[in-house]
């Protein structure tokens, strides 16, 4: 320890120490010389002998100095200062390099922080790694049994997210709510920002709650968005799905719920479920006591989601094993009323409880998209950074050639090569840190734009929040260090591999060509290749999005609006009455050319297995249709002509016989050229079957993704009550806003608790291709950056090459070469490099586009127009980058160029 302080003290008295060392060594030399003189040598000779005996004076100093402090650290600090000074002295060079790196690092950091927030980050709760989700569906009673008996869990909580219609003041608004067990917050370890959170007492009495009656906690985000942090909100009563609920508190700022990307605005105790839940099936959770486990055997799949916390130190496998035993006991108790479904599960050995880590929340994207997005969001910007590094390496190589004399001098007076490489790398690091800092600014801006765009496309409940936090900073630092090694190593090694004698003799000038220049060419070709790869990918994705948006689904999109609502707080048959009332009021809206009701809009729908009366030549797995639930006016409003029979009307309700309308394709597939009308479909559903009669044939619709044949069959939603979702389709003529406002008024008159969400069909189609657009935008922006960087690199290399050969050019011109031939020569050289890059780039693109092939629509992976355009764009930019230096070469004045020598 004391050694540490002694060294520290010495660090602070550096200059005096240096002087003293010099004096000490001088004294030594004096003594030595005197001694030799005493032996009879002449004074001069004695001094020289002493000096020879001492050896390398500088080296002795260097070695001694090394014992004073921490030489590595001090050298690094000195190198840092030296590097920084050097960079300040070359502002042009520094700016190009820092900008290149900033773009590269910025793109990476921005995407990293978004990706981190979207898929990687842990929930903001203590020991988030203990949080697990049950992947096996459990009924509520089964959940309670397991919760009470599990020894390996510190807690277990049910949660279920549901849509809510909330009335705070005048109009009803759409909101996301979740109901949770009373222990939800305590188990997770979340605190209240204000007021209190839920307690087990609030979750005691089904339909009532606890001592305070129906209560709810709101999220911090909702508090901010809806109430602007109004503290008086605590204690207020709002109407949620028709039930008066008291807000008792606000959850901690960073807690969005257990799903990172879907943030419930309201959290209620699960005991309120029978009153607030929109679904009829889920009533079973709470009302089921121990006895009803048997009764509601089948309802496992309708049960709530379950989140649990492992006891400290318990492995997830152990918990899984225990829960499996408990679950199998419940299944065994149900034995007597085992359904087919249970039987099947047992046979397949599927009755295991599956646990997965849930500490990072679940992803908003399905797994396949998720991995593709992970690749896209990390690989694409990584390629940009790679290009930026190649770019900087090229410039450094050029500069290293210019600094050969400096390096040679330093090496000839005894600097070690490793030491020099370290110094050059430190300079590179200074550049990278500067680039990283600017990159961080770019990232902050880029992320804001990206997040704003994503959330504008993914609904109001998207909770993604990303900020510049420690993780982001660490990532940026890591990227900077990686970049340093990537772009700095080669030039540093190159620079120090030098022939001292010839370099010093030549006065620092090296002959034309040279290996640095060749390496530069290779790097530029690599940049061109990578850029072309990104350009081709971007081009394919953009074209594919265009195709998707221009896709003609078979119905008329002109002026079509969708008014979405949910019949929240209504039960069973009530919804039918409500639906009829909505239809009656809407169908007479002034200014609407056509109005229809529907539960879903193509290309949605549910795939169901069917049987058909009469012989059908189809394999068992081909016996399916895609069912859409529609109401009166649907075909009229959508502009889908009925080819035969009749459409679905308001009279097709629960009292009328079950009917359906099929698309022409379905009629063809199942009934060939025979008449489909009057025939029957039988749908297979869990537990029950029902048969419908075909009363009409509608014109075909098309769907963009054609993994399998799409077979729309339209069934009356009035015959499948209760219905939760309802969409009013309005085809407006002229100004839509008046008719939409009138529709809203009608809704308010029907029930002021109904929310209305208006969307044009175009916007909806756009939203459907959100994922493809995200990829396309990402690739386009990165591709643009890549081309920009590559052209900077190309320009740098060509400009440098021209400057170095001005002598050569001068001689040629003095010998009679005209300016044009000089330009042609330089441009030809540029294009050779670019052409090499293009060839390699095409091969790389061929590989890369295979990755995105599954998301492409209407273009092949090697789409000729896209390829041609990408190559043309690359060539044009390259030509420009090469032409400016060529012009400069041609402007060389032979006299001046030759006099330089």
């Amino acid at each position: 320890m004391s050694t540490f302080f002694r060294k520290l003290r010495r660090l602070t008295r550096r200059d005096r120490m240096e002087a003293e060392l010099r004096e000490e060594l001088q004294f030594h030399l004096g003594e030595e010389a005197e001694e030799r003189q005493a032996l009879g040598l002449a004074e001069d000779e004695a001094r020289w002998a002493a000096r020879r005996d001492l050896g390398n004076f500088v080296l002795v100093q260097e070695d001694t100095r090394a014992t004073w402090g921490w030489p590595m650290l001090e050298d690094a600090w000195r190198d840092l200062r030296y590097g920084a000074r050097l960079l300040v002295r070359n502002p042009g060079f520094t700016m190009v390099v820092v900008c290149s790196l900033a773009l590269g690092i910025g793109a990476n950091t921005a995407l990293f922080s978004v990706m981190d927030a979207m898929m990687l980050r842990m929930l903001p709760v203590p020991r988030a790694d203990e949080i697990v989700r049950l992947r096996t569906p459990l009924s509520y009673p089964a959940f309670r049994t397991i919760r009470d008996r599990a020894q390996t869990l510190a807690g277990m909580s049910a949660f279920s997210i549901f849509p809510a219609s909330v009335r705070v003041d005048q109009d009803a608004e759409q909101a996301v709510a979740q109901m949770v067990s009373g222990n939800f917050y305590t188990m997770l370890g979340v605190n209240a920002a204000t007021g209190r959170l839920l307690s087990p007492d609030d979750d005691r009495v089904p339909g009532v709650g606890g001592r305070d009656g129906p209560v709810a906690v709101i999220s911090y985000l909702y508090w901010q968005r809806r109430f602007a942090f109004d503290a008086s909100i605590v204690g207020r009563t709002i109407i949620l799905n028709g039930v008066p609920v008291t807000i008792v508190g606000v959850a901690a700022p960073k807690f969005f719920g257990v799903l990172q990307t879907l943030s419930p605005d309201f959290t209620l105790p699960i005991a309120l479920q029978p009153r607030v839940s929109p679904s009829t099936n889920t009533e079973l959770w709470v009302h089921g006591d121990e006895g009803s486990i048997l009764t509601y055997d089948l309802t496992d799949e309708y049960g709530p989601s379950i989140v649990a916390r492992l006891k400290r130190g318990v492995a997830i496998e152990r918990a899984q094993a225990e829960l499996t035993v408990l679950y199998q006991r419940i299944l065994a108790a149900r034995g007597s009323t085992q359904s087919e479904e249970q039987q099947r599960r047992r046979e397949h050995g599927e009755q295991k409880v599956e646990l997965t880590r849930a500490g990072n929340g679940s992803a908003m994207f399905p797994p396949k998209m998720r991995s593709l997005l992970l690749i896209a969001m990390s690989a694409v910007p990584a390629v940009v950074l790679l290009i930026a590094c190649a770019n900087v390496a090229t410039l450094l190589l050029a500069r290293a050639a210019a600094r050969q004399r400096e390096v040679a001098v330093r090496m000839s007076i005894g600097s070690g090569r490793i030491r020099l490489i370290r110094q050059l790398l430190t300079e590179s690091f200074v550049l990278a840190i500067a680039g990283g800092t600017v990159g961080l600014l770019i990232a902050t801006w880029g992320r804001r734009v990206l997040l704003a765009w994503i959330s504008s496309r993914s609904g109001p409940f998207f909770a993604l929040q990303a900020e510049t936090d420690t993780r982001t900073l660490i990532f940026t630092l890591a990227a900077s260090i990686a970049a340093t090694l990537l772009f700095g190593t080669l030039p540093a090694i190159r620079a120090t591999k030098t022939d001292l004698v010839s370099t010093l003799k030549n006065g620092g000038r090296v002959g034309t060509g040279g290996r640095g220049w060749e390496a530069g060419k290779v790097l530029v070709a690599a940049q061109v290749a990578l850029s072309l790869m990104l350009l081709v990918s971007a081009g394919l994705l953009v074209r594919s999005v265009r195709n998707l948006q221009a896709f003609d689904p078979g119905f008329d999109r002109e002026g079509l609006y969708l008014l979405h609502t949910m019949f929240l707080g209504y039960k069973g048959p009530q919804t039918g009455t409500l639906l009829k009332e909505v239809w009656e009021r809407m169908s007479s809206l002034p200014g609407a050319r056509a109005v229809g009701i529907s539960q879903e809009v193509p290309p949605d729908g549910r795939r169901l297995g069917v049987t058909v009366d009469g012989a059908v030549n189809l394999a068992q797995d081909k016996m399916y249709v895609d069912r859409l639930m529609v109401g009166p006016g649907f075909f009229d409003a959508m502009g889908i002509p009925i080819l035969a029979g009749r459409p679905i009307t308001a009279r097709d309700d629960e009292h009328a016989p079950n009917v359906c309308v099929v698309s022409a394709a379905v009629a063809r597939t199942f009934f060939a050229d025979r008449n489909a009308i009057g025939r029957h479909f039988t749908f297979k559903r869990t537990g029950a079957e029902y048969t419908v009669e075909i009363v009409g044939v509608a014109r075909d619709l098309k769907r963009a993704d054609q993994q399998s044949e799409w077979r729309p069959v339209y069934c009356p939603m009035l015959q499948d009550l209760p219905t939760l979702n309802a969409i009013v389709l309005i085809r407006a003529s002229g100004d839509a806003s008046a008719v939409l406002a009138a529709a809203r008024r009608q809704f308010r008159e029907i029930d002021k608790n109904l929310f209305v969400d208006v969307l044009s069909i175009d916007r909806r189609i756009e939203d459907n291709v959100f994922f493809q657009r995200l990829l396309a935008t990402l690739a386009s922006v990165c591709g643009g950056l890549a081309v920009l960087l590559a052209s900077i690199g190309l320009y740098g290399v060509m400009a440098y090459s021209v400057a170095r050969r001005s002598n050569d050019v001068g001689i040629r011109m003095a010998l009679g070469a005209d300016r044009r031939s000089v330009v042609v020569k330089v441009v030809r050289e540029t294009m050779t490099v670019v052409a090499a890059g293009v060839v390699v780039g095409l091969a790389a693109a061929w590989g890369a586009t295979r990755l995105i092939a599954s998301t492409l629509f209407g273009v092949t992976v090697m789409d000729p127009p896209t390829l041609a355009l990408a190559i043309a764009a690359m060539m044009t930019v390259a030509l420009l980058a090469g032409f400016i230096p060529a012009r400069r070469a041609a402007a060389v004045n032979p006299v001046i160029a030759l006099r330089q020598d």
Binding site: E24, L25, F27, H28, E34, L54, G55, N56, V60
Partner: protein, 118 residues
């Protein structure tokens, strides 16, 4: 510096420390004097290179085993004199017994008969 066999460097590293500490037991000395003293007492078997001497004394100083001060030499010139500290004295005794044991062990192995005889 001239290349050395690695074993000798290792040996010299530890040895030089002890030699310097031992030399300073007879009183404060400057660098040149230390080097001459070792040379003389070892009957010129050991030649201390300046390139090793100064880094070594500075290292010992950093460890607090020796302390330095500027004094006038007998010829009246300013010189940096090193003297042993209490810590250094303790270190020397520890090292000395270690070296003696080592030397004895080496002797026993290299010349068993001779050791027994003496």
């Amino acid at each position: 510096m001239s290349p050395k066999a690695p074993t000798r460097v290792e040996l010299l590293q530890g040895t030089l420390d002890v030699l310097i500490l031992r030399t300073l037991i007879s009183g404060p000395m400057h660098g040149h004097a230390i080097s001459k003293h070792i040379q003389r007492t070892s009957e010129h078997l050991l030649q201390i290179e300046t390139g090793s001497l100064y880094p070594c004394v500075h290292r010992l100083e950093a460890k607090g085993w020796i302390a330095a001060s500027w004094e006038l030499s007998d010829k009246g010139k300013r010189a940096k004199y090193y003297r042993l500290t209490a810590l250094g004295r303790k270190q020397l005794f520890a090292e000395q017994s270690k070296w003696k044991a080592f030397a004895r062990a080496m002797g026993l192995i290299l010349d068993p008969a001779g050791q027994e005889g003496s």
